[in-house]
Symmetry: C2
Subunit: 335 residues, 2 copies
DNA sequence: TCATTTTCTGCAAACGTTTGCATAATTCGA
DNA sequence: TCGAATTATGCAAACGTTTGCAGAAAATGA
């Protein structure tokens, strides 16, 4: 009733399914005349190859699995856009799932993708992921895997990242050059390497500039706008108002930004603020935010390019490496 | 080398694959003791069912295809989030593709999804889609299809939308109540029904209020920020500066917003502005934008709920209907 | 004209499952 | 203790392809 098969075509033409198969894949063995007939009937009957059957036989799929913490997050959605873009042009399709920052869900998603026999996976881990066993299992089975942005250092796979520490260093140095001295850091979850690295960069810049590190100026929180708001609120309530903020990412920066405005403090005169990621919002707030341009779209593209290369060259086992993309500091009016 | 199969388990236990299959799916016919043994070996060998083979046999898949114009667009990425959320909890997986506003690519994506034998599709059409044949083909084959937001009126399928005309009407009436009289509309592509509807609502509000319709106050453009900027620029260059703007969506509103600021005009005193969609940015610009709250996340959820219902009840052929979700006007400081 | 080569087509097995049906193994009643 | 009823297992076909191999048909040469 539903889909026509190669057999329907064969029956209609009184030839064998094998010939039809070969005709459709333009095999040189089959006569041009037969090919034509087959193609016509195929069109006439609205034939679409059953990729499920093809995959079963050939043991290849053109599906790439993608797992991110949250699809709607600006950084990830544009990374996914980049992934889809390249995948599309290479004839791959992407299966997208989100972990919602939950470790369990990340594991479930991973096995779901394995069951679907995706050709490979691109992953940015959840903030509650403390173990990499589910990914190690992929590696053991020889399923190509590429991490981007949020990676697990211990695992020996390809990683597409930026130099978080160096970028953070540059951002904080910029604040220092602008004359800010009481610089607070709104940090992300301690579990994430990117957050650790950004914190490191912050500390290093302070020490480089001879500014003593003050534990009370590091406020840990999540990666969302609300976290930034809450963290800033804490600083204000504690009476330890800094003269500048380095936020772990843009949503956090924007949250802090709002709290600062509510407190009636002037940006950048009373408080300078630097974000991280170059989300679209940063250009739209007033004043626009200084931030680190994290090339989300390009990171997605790069990750999938690497993955496809791995998929299509299974024999030469390519040594995993860490690809570090450039991330520039974009200076705007908030500093 | 790669994946263990049911046969590996069978061989290891000296039983038949059929028994293993039944054991794993907890069939009552197989003895508890055998089940245990099977489960143990399955775990030991790291068995994951090959869903490709399962699908081929059962003729069912748990993949849902999603096609949107652009993944990174705020509205769509949060709709996709909603879709994934519900899909995940119902055991489905989503294959996401973007048309990039290209008709051809939309067609390619559609057939790619059909080849993968997705259980159903959720689509928001591209702005250059003028024909619905590729979707009609789905309907003819009995493949469940749900449109959301950007729909094709002529096709008899489920649609999840908001009342665009009514919402536009409310938005423009609000401007009128605020005292604005020279209201321009930055319209979207004439091909999209949502754009036509919003234009209609605009016209109707004017006529309702007895304000004569002025052709020169409708500027057609795309759906992006830059389009808003350009359209606003035209109005300014033409010397026909309105005292209020009703934009077809938020990005366009924000683009106009920036051009207005550049021109040194005060919002809302000299120019009022209303957007459409309630993108996150609208709360962050200064002043925050009045806009129509289009529940993207919920639209995604609703669409996939309908789709799953269609997928899981193929026998009772459910009559397609149009689901209209509520969209409230959110009044902020820009009007 | 017939043997030989070349060109084209079909048979059948395989991919990893599921499942109707047959049958082996076990349990039960008398 | 034996046949019947019950319980548990296996056989084999099927899902829609691909592909090695065999062999039919056509073309070639002498």
């Amino acid at each position: 009733m539903k889909h026509t098969t190669i057999n329907d075509i064969a029956r209609k033409l009184g030839i064998s399914p094998s010939t039809v198969s070969r005709a459709l894949s333009n095999h040189p063995d089959v006569k041009e005349e037969t090919k034509k007939k087959v193609r016509n009937v195929a069109k006439e009957l609205n034939y679409t190859p059953n990729q499920i059957a093809q995959s079963l036989k050939t043991k290849r799929t053109n599906a790439i699995g993608v797992i991110v913490p949250e699809i709607k997050h600006d950084f990830f959605s544009s990374a996914i856009s980049g992934i889809e873009e390249v995948a599309y042009h290479s004839g791959y399709t992407i299966i997208v799932s989100q972990s919602n920052e939950s470790f369990e869900r990340e594991v479930v998603n991973t096995t779901a993708l394995v069951q679907q026999r995706v050709a490979g996976l691109i992953v940015s881990i959840s903030q509650s992921t403390k173990s990499g066993e589910h990914f190690q299992a992929l590696i053991d089975r020889g399923i190509p895997l590429v991490f981007f942005d949020r990676v697990i250092n211990e695992l020996d796979v390809f990683k597409v990242i930026i130099d978080d520490k160096q970028s953070a260093f540059k951002a904080v140095m910029h604040l220092i050059e602008r004359g800010y001295r009481k610089i607070a850091h709104l940090a992300g979850p301690r579990t994430l390497e990117i957050c650790k690295a950004r914190l490191e960069g912050y500390k290093e810049a302070l020490s480089y500039a001879g500014i003593p590190f003050n534990e009370g100026f590091v406020i840990y929180g999540g990666m969302h706008e609300n976290d930034g708001y809450v963290s800033m609120d804490k600083l204000i309530k504690n009476g330890t108002v800094p003269d500048a903020i380095f936020a772990v990412n843009d949503p956090v920066a924007v949250g802090a930004f709002q709290r600062i405005k509510e407190a009636g403090m002037k940006i950048p005169d009373e408080v300078g603020i630097v974000g991280f990621s170059n989300n679209k919002i940063t250009t739209l707030v007033d004043p626009p935010l200084t931030t680190v341009d994290q090339p989300s779209f390009e990171m997605g593209k790069k990750a999938v390019e690497i993955l496809i290369n791995l998929i299509e060259n299974p024999e030469k086992d390519i040594k995993p490496s860490v690809v570090v993309l450039d991330a520039e500091l974009i200076v705007r009016k908030s500093t």
